[in-house]
């Protein structure tokens, strides 16, 4: 039996269908991402698990128990919000201690666990600060510590990294993954960032128009997309000769599809090409190995492995 299961979960707002019969089984300790463009229903799904939005139909079960019958305050879930939602009038330690206080944990035990959790997220020396005195990345960690300290059955992450700059986001992805591995909490991440979802998750749920288009491990979804939507959402694709080919799987050859280099962009570790062919514009990504590459205006031939 799955740890958390969504069974035909739906949400209608008037005539608008936000979530349309979503079924998903999450195993204990698994890291699952709900991935999709804005308006695909991923956040609504998260809010229904959290209890802030009431489903129009379907069921949510946690270890077989009906979660919908449990009040949001009693569900014991840890949530990290996009805006972090820290309590601005409380110090970092008070923020993190809040959940323990609500559970009636004794003061000494509380202090110990708050200290422990702040260590875990690398903020051991920040206990006395206020959120406004911290950077976005640090606030994000406080939010994570506050959610983890109550030892939640499930950790829900709502676009937790989207307010950080690109470099910090990458660092936090690695750290988040490590922390999740350490504590082993079942985690559901909502994101529109396919790179983030692929980097972090055991499995992806690629959503569109309230439905799951594909559920599976990131590598599988990328290599064998179930629908054209999944293919285009998980990275770039080319449609040549009626088949979809990833740009990094096309190489320059002596024969094959003839074309002319329209633009060539250097991106450090790789080159990004736009090739004009009889089949239309084809995107090609080649590793930068230090060798000379075809320049703009040059005639080239493209080849790729048959799938």
């Amino acid at each position: 039996m799955a740890f958390l299961s969504l069974e035909g979960l739906s949400k209608h707002f008037g005539t608008h269908v936000a979530v349309d019969g979503l079924t998903l089984a999450v195993e204990k300790g698994e890291f699952v991402s709900l991935l999709g463009p804005s308006g695909c229903g991923k956040t609504t799904t998260l809010q229904m698990i959290a209890g802030f939005v009431e489903p129009s139909g379907g069921a949510i079960r946690l270890e077989g128990r009906d979660l919908l019958a449990v009040k949001p305050a009693k569900r014991g879930l840890g949530i990290v919000f996009q805006s972090y939602a820290l309590f601005p009038h409380m110090t970092v330690a008070e923020n993190v201690a809040f959940g323990l206080e609500m559970q009636g944990v004794a003061a000494a035990e509380r202090t110990r666990r708050v200290g422990e959790t702040l260590e875990l997220v690398g903020l051991g020396t920040f206990a006395g600060r206020y959120p406004r005195q911290m950077s976005g990345g640090q606030q994000q960690r406080v939010a994570l510590a506050r959610a983890l300290v109550i030892r939640p059955q499930i950790l829900l992450l709502d676009e937790p990294l989207s307010n950080l700059d690109a470099k910090l986001r990458e660092e936090m992805q690695i750290e988040l993954r490590q922390i999740q591995r350490t504590v082993g909490t079942t985690t559901i991440l909502v994101t529109h960032d396919q790179a983030e979802a692929m980097a972090l998750s055991d499995r992806l749920v690629v959503m569109n128009h309230g439905r799951a288009e594909q559920i599976g491990p990131p590598h599988e979804a990328y290599e064998r997309p179930a629908t054209p939507f999944v293919a285009s959402f998980l990275g770039r694709t080319n449609l040549v000769n009626g088949t979809t080919v990833r740009p990094e799987k096309i190489w320059f050859a002596t024969s094959g599809l003839a074309g002319k280099v329209r633009t060539r962009i250097f991106q450090g570790n790789h080159w990004l090409y736009q090739i004009e062919t009889a089949d239309g514009l084809v995107t090609v990504i080649r590793q930068n190995t230090g060798e000379a590459m075809p320049g703009e205006g040059e005639a080239v031939h493209l080849a790729w492995a048959a799938t």
């Binding site: 959290a50 209890g51 802030f52 949001p72 305050a73 009693k74 569900r75 014991g76 879930l77 840890g78 949530i79 919000f81 996009q82 805006s83 939602a85 820290l86 309590f87 601005p88 009038h89 809040f98 959940g99 609500m102 559970q103 206020y130 959120p131 406004r132 939010a143 506050r146 959610a147 109550i150």
Partner: protein, 268 residues
Amino acid sequence: MSRNGPIALIYHTLFVIFMLAPILVVCFVAFTPEGYLSFPTDRWSLRWFYAIGRYPEFISAFWRSLWLGALSSAIAVAFSVPAALAIGRHRFRGRDAMTALFMSPLMIPHVVLGIAFLRFFTELGLGGTFVGLVLAHIVVVLPFALRLTLASAVGLDRSIEHAAISLGASDRTVLRRITLPLVLPGLISGWALAFINSFDEVTMTVFIAAPGTETLPVRMFLYIQDNIDPLVTSVSACVIAITAAALIALDRAYGLERLLVGRSVDGR
């Protein structure tokens, strides 16, 4: 900060003079030794400040205005908290009508309110009582209290409350530990603005105050009807001095901008 050009500078100077001139004139006149309103030229005197001592009703009216403002503003703020939380964060039937109702005292001329309350309080046996004054002032200052309370309720991030709920807090705990502390700056600003409006109110109060329950502005208004001596100017100068001192103290302790705009704790 961008530098202003000469025209902007002249404009600002004229504007400040226009705003401050009446206040300065009143303060100057207060120091006249004459028995009528005159601009002191060569001789200065504290005569009219000492004269306040001979009119204890001015002193008691001042304290009454202070209490009336503090009390009616506090009650108006207490009323506006649940109203602001409901109006600011939920969509329900009659929401617009409710907002319009609470804001309506702004639209009704105070003369009309004064006459209406006079008639109403006489009927209830509250005519000329302090309780009557408090009730009437609550109605008049409620829009000011509500406006700022509403602004801070609307600006509140719902996910902060959701975070507290997810951590196991009951609705009551969320209100007490999270929501109220976060809207507190708005409540303080709302109270301050309401207090200023109550302290200043004369048009309505003159109808419902009786001898013995006159507020300071009413006392001054009535005095100036029968007398042309500069006593009211020395009283005004005192009020201006007290106000200035209070504003400076508040600015040092809390920040005037924060007080009157109602910035939240974490608003930078």
